[in-house]
């Protein structure tokens, strides 16, 4: 045993080195998982806590030292109470109507506008385009005072979800995003369409739109999430309870339920769950949308 064959020496050394490297690898892995795990606690904990709180029964403490996280007497009562005392079904319906109609009409309008900016030469193109870009720096809240006046005195859609749909029918951001997408389509394809006798509208509809479908999905997701979560403008426009969207309704719920934390938690969970499911299903498109937006 004491005799080591000289030829074995480098082999064991290599093996020791190899196991050392592997050991370092596992250590590194443990380190990174710890960091990532701690961060996950920071970002997810409020959701977990609200989720558990929404199922707490009257005998489960909200405030106690030490704190109680998991309900011992889980119940759905908080959800039924919220559902009974507030028109939650209306809130959902209103939010879905606003988001769906805004997304579809906005994409229609902005993809129409993006086509000439990307592929046509016409007088005033650059001037109009830069004017649009300049509106990026206008704080949206600045327009709310005149928009409020328009809603009450001109369009008369105050206290209706139309007040949320009309101002969102076109956004400069989406025009810009879709213009970038149209630019990547080769001109030859359009010329081929023209030789076949297609008009500009046909070209836009049956050649361009199918090609840029990923960008349309991105724009749709961004618009949907923005509309779903929007609060400032909807809160100004929707005083009647049954006309409110989810976000505005949630603030009303918070006011109505006062110190009933269990009920408020149930309201928060109901508001957040749909958008989280939406995100999990469309995760890849979400991320692509973001990185695409930076490049543009």
């Amino acid at each position: 045993m004491a005799q080591t064959h000289p030829l074995n020496l480098p082999a064991t050394e290599a093996r020791r080195k190899a196991t050392g490297a592997a050991g370092r690898k596992t250590l590194e892995k443990i380190f990174w998982y710890t960091v990532l795990g701690l961060m996950a606690v920071v970002t997810a904990f409020p959701f977990v806590w609200v989720f558990f709180t929404s199922f707490k029964g009257p005998n489960d403490a909200i405030y106690s030292v030490p704190p109680q996280l998991v309900p011992q007497y889980p119940t759905f009562d908080n959800y039924t109470r919220v559902w009974q005392q507030l028109p939650m079904a209306n809130f959902f319906l209103n939010s879905i109507s606003v988001a769906a109609s805004t997304v579809s009409l906005n994409l229609l309008f902005t993809s129409l506008a993006a086509y000439p900016f990307a592929k046509m030469k016409f007088r005033g193109r650059d001037t109009i385009f830069y004017l649009l870009l300049a509106t990026f720096v206008v704080p949206p809240q600045l327009s709310f005072i005149p928009s409020f006046v328009l809603a009450r005195n001109v369009f008369h859609y105050y206290d209706s979800i139309l007040a949320l749909i009309f101002p969102s029918l076109a956004t400069v951001f989406n025009i810009f995003l879709l213009r970038q997408a149209f630019k990547t389509v080769p001109d030859d394809l359009l010329d081929a369409g023209r030789i076949d006798g297609a008009g500009e509208f046909r070209i836009w509809w049956s050649i361009l739109l199918p090609i840029i479908r990923p960008s349309l999905a991105t724009a749709a997701i961004i618009t949907f999430v923005y509309q779903w979560n929007d609060y400032f403008w909807p809160s100004l426009m929707l005083p009647t309870m049954t006309h409110k969207t989810l976000q505005v309704g949630l603030v009303a719920l918070q006011g109505a339920f006062g110190s009933d934390s269990r009920g408020i938690a149930a309201g928060v969970v109901m508001t957040v769950i749909p958008i989280i499911i939406f995100f999990i299903v469309l995760q890849r498109q979400f991320v692509r949308g973001l990185t695409g937006a930076v490049k543009g």
Partner: protein, 292 residues
């Protein structure tokens, strides 16, 4: 190519331009006009000249407080840049389950500031989770009134903004990191760079476009913050206006107090600040690309 006037492009543009003209361009002009009037939205505006601005700058300490708070709020931008680059570096590695972590960090971004703000408000309540946690591990003896202590209001609201932005800007930096060629890091290792030097000399310069983008976007968002302030202060702006920012003040003047003319003057100040900021940012961006 025959050059002849065609109506087609304008037809494509009309629907979108009409909407933008009515809801973006017209409001900018109208707000300039309103800022010179006394206006409560119900009765027609009446011209008052510069008196809104005069009052704003000489007789309104709360406006100055709001201005100060909004500038303090800009601190979220450097904090977000540093934290999110670190976070992006942490998630930019091939580990089993890494996508689940990235997704988890993204959830606060999409959940909406109202729902998230209400959750925070419940945790920060005097009878809330944070106090019971701190008392049970012995850091506190007595519960702290986190949301009614003027010194804490603005930092807590800013913390919420940072927390909600982490996942968003992390993803942007992550996309940037993945565009940096691996060979650069190999070369750095050959030259004997340690981990810190590696990031200092390669990651940061490589992320320059993303850093500029995040700086622009997050500072504009910081200047326009409303939801977080509204929800964490219960619509009141905090004790002694400690959480009042420019947009919150605009909202209160226009839609709580019915001073739409005065609020329009606040909006004009906001517009001028945002414009100055954007021009500064674009200058910085241009300098950045010249250097490349």
């Amino acid at each position: 190519m025959t050059k002849k006037f065609s109506l087609t492009p304008y037809l494509f543009l009309t629907p979108a331009l009409l909407v933008i003209a009515v809801f973006v361009l017209y409001p900018v002009i109208a707000v300039v006009y309103y800022s010179f009037t006394s206006y409560d939205i119900v009765t027609p505006p009446s011209w008052v000249g510069l008196s809104n601005y005069q009052r704003l700058f000489t007789a309104d300490p709360i406006f100055w407080q709001a201005l100060k708070n909004s500038f303090i709020y800009l601190l979220v931008t450097p904090i977000l840049i540093v934290l999110c680059i670190m976070l992006a570096i942490a998630v930019n590695r091939k580990l089993p389950g890494i996508n689940a972590f990235r997704a988890l960090y993204y959830i606060p971004v999409i959940s909406g500031s109202i729902a998230v703000g209400i959750a925070w408000r419940m945790m920060l309540d005097t009878n809330g989770l944070l106090n019971s946690l701190l008392i049970s591990i012995g850091i506190l003896q007595e519960p702290i009134q986190w949301l009614s202590e003027p010194a804490y209001t603005l930092p807590i609201v800013m913390l919420l903004t940072v927390w909600m932005g982490l996942g968003h800007y992390m993803m942007i930096f992550l996309a940037g990191l993945q565009n940096i060629p691996e060979e650069l890091y190999d070369a750095a290792r050959m030259d004997g760079c340690n981990d810190f030097q590696k990031h200092w000399y390669i990651t940061f310069p490589g992320l320059r476009p993303q850093i500029t983008f995040v700086a622009v976007i997050s500072s504009l968002a910081a200047l326009q913050v409303f939801n977080e302030v509204f929800i964490l202060t219960g619509g009141l702006g905090g004790v002694l206006n400690s959480g009042v920012t420019m947009v919150f003040y605009l909202w209160r003047q226009a839609f709580r107090l019915g001073h739409a003319g005065y609020a329009s003057a606040v909006a004009m100040v906001l517009l001028v600040i945002t414009l100055t900021f954007s021009i500064m940012n674009i200058r910085l961006l241009e300098r950045g690309t010249e250097a490349d």
